[in-house]
Symmetry: C2
Subunit: 745 residues, 2 copies
């Protein structure tokens, strides 16, 4: 699946750290395997390739630098992830023969929901019912399951409101308003050296966010500054937040993930990748301001369809040299490490039923991310694809050179980036293995590091802290750290073993930091010692450390805490060096290129994806590749033809027994030309009437280059139709009460 | 370790098939993990990148095509893996100030031994004692071990001749003579279309080999036609073969592989990577024609040293387009699959002591191969490295273009290769997953395929068989298939699971061949069914099938035999297509380029490595990289300093207790500029007096690009000194009887 995003930092990203598996990591707030889960891993593929991270999640907010930019040249037809305030109405009108008006846009914006599981969603009833994907709630399903009650295998349906179950750590955001704060941010950066820039920016953004939310109930509102257009614009986003999202319906894995990894990123497809949550507040279902009417009329081929959701990250404006670095260093390194993790998890899961179950979420995430990154590597290794990016850059540079005034103003940021990349490559392994991806899929390592750093940073004045440790950020982190979620020690051990082994491999056995990590035992022994010895899985242990602050942390005998205390200095050092030598300078150069783009191509541009609300317009349409025409829609009948009985093409028993009741011609999955990416998972597919007609859950194989460029000839979004969802609710799951609720207008 | 080669086909290569892990696979003759073992895996890294294989081992003999070529431009100082008959005496004299004379060359040739474990070795006593590497006998040690008697952990020392133990399936070859058969081969190829060329060549080579060995005892002689200079020359090599190689001494893993994977391909090193075999025949130790005198005098920095051994394969003459294919398709695909296998084996080995032991050989091989291929990828991704190859090709093409007669004669083979590569890329996954690498590390899958194919091919006249199924080849295969070696069903299952999962992933779940492979169950289920159900691990079952021929095979109910019978048609079809569209045409184009090289640069050239006897000259010498000088030698005292106690830097207990008796200044490992590659493992390091002063066991990290080019500034061979071996035999292992035998002249 391409379009799931991952449990993204919805409070200040500082609380989240990047991890070995590329996931954005929240110290608590999701159950253990969730951290390797499908949606998070998806985000891994969207990581800025030149990764100017600070050790925190870098794709939006504070540290969002390299992935944020402008559309190259002018956007091609149906390309673009547009902000609602800058939707290109005239262009859409020209392309589609129709465009949404202001009322349409306002209704859709108010109905769109962003999930902290890293997905998108929408209100689809007046009683707070929210449509999203099965794979966006699969972590929730797993956390509500146990070895004896495997809801992933059985599916979940609440027959009454009382049966709905809270998804731990999942919240939903509705965007209320945006405000331009560019001038204030730029004023704070004026005269700041590139090396200090990352920290200065973090501080001013943090200040704006705290001010904006002052006086608001932080259980109900959140305020984020978003860096758009690669620092060309800063925007304050204010959200209404719903903290109690309850599971109402999720199909069993065999239906939600029919076709499994082989079908992932492919089409034709036959997956009921849909689920319902319900927003609750103060013990009652929420009544949203508005919701999308439910329509089971399937768009005809060529009909306009729109997608409102939160694409996570794109990198369409990296320079050619940054793309080459991505192709030759970043992706191969991470993909090779991920392949090993893939093999470890696969082998582990083959050991028995409980191993299979407990490793499922991790496996989903890794498989998905692997395939996505493989597609990215293939795209970048394609000489023709790369040549397009070279031509685009050459065009911009030629135009800059032809404008002496502009050229004098911006200098040569491409040369700056080339120089930065030399440092970036030299620091890359060290930053990845000691800081950005330290711990791999071990959740408790992340917990320990978060606790240790919070205790240390809390002792300092706000302006002297490392990015991401504002008071607000630490409050949110504390809440997540205290949530109760299961931890699988075997997975902890696997993640730590992989991390320590690879750190030794890539940094060398004689590296002093590596020697400290291993502490005179082997990687396997150290991982086992930490995974089996730590008690950080117990909420009361975490609470005691959080309450006790620096004194409690320094006095702790927990082996994971001691381990982090012994190793954090080296991690902090490389993180600081990375901010100084990579993030800040890249940020400064990128902003110059952004300036050049605005000046040369004007402002009919969309920013790179930032996991904030966007609208993409397109049409329901198949495609042709290698002489083969792929029709735009599949049917429920096709599912039964494709089912072989063998995993992952095994039919769910509920579907097998419902076969006679289902209308085989019901459209099942559908493709459209909308420009989406990971984070869009669960986005409503909307017709011109503003009705929801599907839920986006994937892209086709040709969409995998979408991180770097959109090719409208073959790039397709994949959605499950509301028609199929309705048919399944009624005839497979006996959920007539939901059908009735959806039909009410 | 770079220099181990792998259990290479020393009888006609037809009996061996390429496998998923890149290993050259003998159906029987080594114990199970050996098939994934270190030496075999090493060869994987030497696979011709444009892989014009026929499904058989392709790097020498019948199908040796793309890896055989000429030195680019003229060889640089100390570059070159020279045949003994074409040793560049004048050049060596100029470079070293000394060169070996004819007598020196003859003595060394007669002392050099090639091992069927894919390694090199040498006679070092008049009683048939053979020096090689620990890692060249580690498979043998494992096959002589059991869960209760772990010789890998304890080491092995025969205190008397009677205690020496036969290494199953290992034989030793001494090269007696070579003869030019180019004219006869070319006559048989005259007028043959490129598509038919591979088969025609296999047939004529097979005929020459059979004739040459007619009347000779095939237990004592072997005759191989070797394709040198990319088909520019064919040479008949006649060997004296010793079939009973017995283990005399091997250190424990902690000493032989001190530093483990982290130190592999690195220097400074402290490994006693040495072992002794003894050639036996007719129940007695062999008295070799000659042997290398043992000297414990360590070469001084700058002293000339020579390496006589069998480099497995190099690819120094691939065209730039072939190299790009290697970089962008071949290496990434195989390395990603290998990384998953790496993770699976690592996770499996973490489950317990016996898993750790039984997976050790597989792990060695995979780790080594992974690192080697990673080095190759890094070399090819280095723009400067690639530019050298581009310049070399441009130079040759310019010179050809400047010679109208030559240009008319050879046409444009570079364009031919470009066209072939389009087909090669289109067929690549299919050929890899259905034929070349089918089965991954499953030994019994290979056994089954070999038995099924032998039964079918035996029904046909010789000229109509697929390459590699001559009567001689099948006789040798039968011998190996009947040897008794342990099989680890868990490793079988892991290999089959990986293979089937990846076949489904890369070829697609809807591919008819994939559907037949999986047979309506999941990959894991199918792998488990085959691995647990087959009885091909029993020699009597194999014998019954071999004796019963086609009728017995077709009537077999063994699940692995039924599986191969169901799937072999698709494998044979892609293999035939590959021969027709890739191997034959590549061969024809390569021979044209070889012709051009001979014509342009003359004949002061060395052929690409072919796992046949070569001599490399160089000097004992350290190197400088990134401003650091690396001294050329380490000492035994350094071992004790480097030991941390933690695997893989844990000291063997035997060494710990011997510390007081060992002279700490004894030189331990040494580097020299000799141009070597996988297959050279165990080669004697020889001084100008013709005395052995060490055993080559590795290359440094800079040697990993050596597959494609030699860079004398940094490329170094790593040897263990005879001085250290002697010191250890005497003071660690109490093997004074061996020291006495070695000292006798």
């Amino acid at each position: 699946m391409v379009v799931g995003a991952g449990p993204l930092p919805l409070s200040p990203p500082a609380h989240w750290t990047l991890r070995q598996d590329g996931a954005c990591f929240a110290p608590r707030g999701r159950r253990a395997p969730a951290f390797a889960g499908i949606t998070k891993e998806m985000f891994a593929m969207k990581m800025p390739s030149d990764a100017p991270t600070t050790g925190q999640c870098a794709w939006f907010g504070l540290a969002a630098v390299a992935m944020i930019g402008l559309a190259p040249l002018s956007a091609k037809a149906e390309e673009g992830m547009w902000t609602f305030e800058n939707f290109p109405t005239a262009r859409a009108q020209a392309d589609l023969g129709w465009a949404p008006d202001a009322g349409w846009l306002q209704r859709v914006q108010s109905s769109a929901v962003r999930l902290s599981s890293g997905c998108s969603a929408s209100f689809v009833s007046g009683s707070g019912l929210v449509l999203t994907n099965w794979h966006c709630v699969s972590d929730c399903v797993a956390s509500l399951s146990s070895a004896r009650n495997d809801l992933a295998a059985k599916g979940f349906l609440a027959r009454t409101l009382a049966e709905e179950k809270t998804c731990p750590g999942v919240s939903g955001d509705v965007l209320l308003s945006t405000a331009d704060v560019t001038a204030r941010v730029n004023a704070a950066l004026d005269g700041v050296s590139p090396a200090e820039r990352a920290t200065a920016r973090a501080n001013v953004i943090s200040a704006i966010e705290e001010e904006a939310c002052t006086g608001k109930d932080n259980q109900k509102y959140r305020c984020d500054v978003v860096s758009l257009y690669r620092g060309g614009r800063y925007s304050l986003y204010t959200y209404r937040t719903y903290k109690d999202m309850r599971l109402s319906f999720a199909p069993e894995t065999a239906a939600g993930f029919f076709g499994g990894d082989p079908d992932n990123f492919n089409f034709p497809r036959f997956a009921l990748d849909a689920a319902f949550l319900r927003a609750w507040e103060d013990g009652r279902p929420v009544t949203p301001v508005t919701h999308l009417p439910w329509s089971t009329t399937v768009p005809a081929q060529g009909d306009p369809v729109l997608v409102a959701g939160n694409p996570g990250s794109t990198q369409r404006l990296l320079t050619v040299r940054q793309l080459a670095f991505t192709r030759d260093w970043l992706l191969p390194t991470r993909q090779l490490v991920r392949s090993e993790l893939r093999g470890m998890i696969a082998q582990y899961r083959s050991l028995g039923r409980e191993q299979r179950r407990s490793g499922e979420a991790a496996s989903f995430g890794i498989e998905n991310s692997w395939k996505a990154q493989n597609g990215q590597m293939r795209a970048l290794m394609d000489p023709e694809f790369f040549a397009i990016k070279q031509r685009e850059e050459a065009d911009l540079r030629a135009r800059v050179a032809a404008d002496p005034e502009l050229a004098a103003e911006i200098g040569d940021p491409w040369a700056d980036i080339e120089a930065i990349l030399v440092r970036q490559q030299a620091l890359f392994y060290r930053h990845d293995f000691l800081e950005a991806r330290a711990g791999s899929i071990s959740e408790l390592y992340g917990v320990a590091r978060q606790i240790v750093r919070m205790a240390a940073e809390a002792e300092k004045p706000a302006a002297q802290r490392i990015p991401g440790y504002s008071d607000t950020a630490m409050r949110s982190a504390r809440t997540r750290l205290l949530e109760v979620t299961p931890v699988y020690r075997d997975l902890e051990r696997i993640g730590l073993t992989l991390w320590l082994t690879k750190a030794q491999e890539y940094l060398g056995a004689d590296d002093p930091a590596v020697r400290t990590l291993l502490g005179n035992v082997s990687a396997v022994e150290q991982a086992t010692r930490l995974a089996t010895g730590t008690r950080l899985n117990e909420a009361r242990v975490r609470r005691a450390l959080l309450d006790g602050g620096q004194a409690a942390v320094l006095a702790s005998t927990d082996p994971m805490i001691r381990f982090v205390l012994a190793n954090d200095a080296a991690a902090r050092e490389i993180a600081a060096q990375w901010r100084r030598e990579v993030v800040g300078p890249t940020d400064a150069a990128a902003q110059k290129i952004a300036t050049a783009r605005f000046r040369v191509y004007g402002d009919a541009l969309y920013p790179d994806a930032t996991f904030t609300l966007r609208l993409s317009y397109g049409r329901a349409m198949g495609w042709s590749a290698q002489g083969q025409d792929v029709p735009y829609v599949t049917t429920i009948g096709g599912l039964f033809q494709r089912a072989t009985g063998a995993y992952p093409f095994n039919l769910a028993p509920s579907w097998a027994s419902a076969r006679g009741r289902l209308d085989p011609v019901t459209p099942f999955n559908i493709v459209s030309t909308n420009d989406i990416i990971g984070g869009n998972s669960g986005s409503p597919l909307i017709n011109r009437n503003g009705e929801v007609v599907g839920a986006v859950f994937d892209g086709n194989i040709h969409s995998l280059g979408g991180d770097f460029a959109y090719d409208g000839r073959t790039n397709r979004s994949v959605s499950v139709t509301t028609a199929a969802i309705t048919e399944a609710l009624r005839h497979v799951y006996g959920a007539d009460h939901l059908v009735t609720e959806l039909a009410a207008r």
